[in-house]
């Protein structure tokens, strides 16, 4: 069954505001990655976390393996942040399967 539940599936934010995306895992995951889909459909890596939190500009991500979730916070949203965001996690070695969430489509409104 699905091991990664990503929410919300769609999100609208006014410019300058913020929100959080979340991925819940049905089993203990070893690490999580967050990606953003670019205009061609490929994925750009935003974060890799094995634990704790990481921050990059207006983005901040957290991963709690024990509680089985990860979040991606966006603050002061800008129009160029619009796009689709994915989380992905692996249980064991990263050589094995990486399980992707279904994605969150973010629209930033002027």
């Amino acid at each position: 069954g699905d091991q990664v539940e990503q929410s919300p599936s769609a999100l609208s934010l006014h410019e300058g505001t913020g929100s959080a995306l979340r991925c819940n895992f049905t089993t203990t995951m070893r690490a999580v990655q967050w990606f953003r889909k670019n205009s061609r459909g490929s994925l750009i890596n935003l974060f890799y976390l094995a634990s704790g939190t990481k921050e990059n500009g207006r983005l901040k991500s957290a991963f709690d393996s024990k509680e089985r979730y990860s979040t991606l916070h966006i603050r002061d949203a800008q129009l160029e942040d619009s796009g689709t965001y994915f989380c992905a996690a692996n249980r064991g070695s990263a050589l094995g399967r990486l399980h992707f969430g279904a994605g969150t489509q973010l629209i930033v409104i002027p």
């Binding site: 690490a31 459909g41 094995g96 399967r97």
Partner: protein
Amino acid sequence: AQTIHQWPVAEIKAVGSPLSLGCTIKGKSSPNLYWYWQATGGTLQQLFYSITVGQVESVVQLNLSASRPKDDQFILSTEKLLLSHSGFYLCAWMGGDAETLYFGSGTRLTVL
């Protein structure tokens, strides 16, 4: 700096025809390489991975095969395409100590 190149950018193929998609990594020796696939409206799925030349592990069975003929090259192929093969194919490599995945630009395949 490492670069990943996928080809072709897009393909329109007939059912039953053969397919070959390529992926090349430059600037990284002995990379772990991956093929992913996303059907329209579907979730990204890992198809194959390879940790070294000549070794490929299948993750999902889709009547596709993969080969790693060179250290920097990963090929996805089939002799007979199915309609269900349509979608977006991504090659990726794993970098550094953090096991971060880096994706190529993808190939959009339409099977008619």
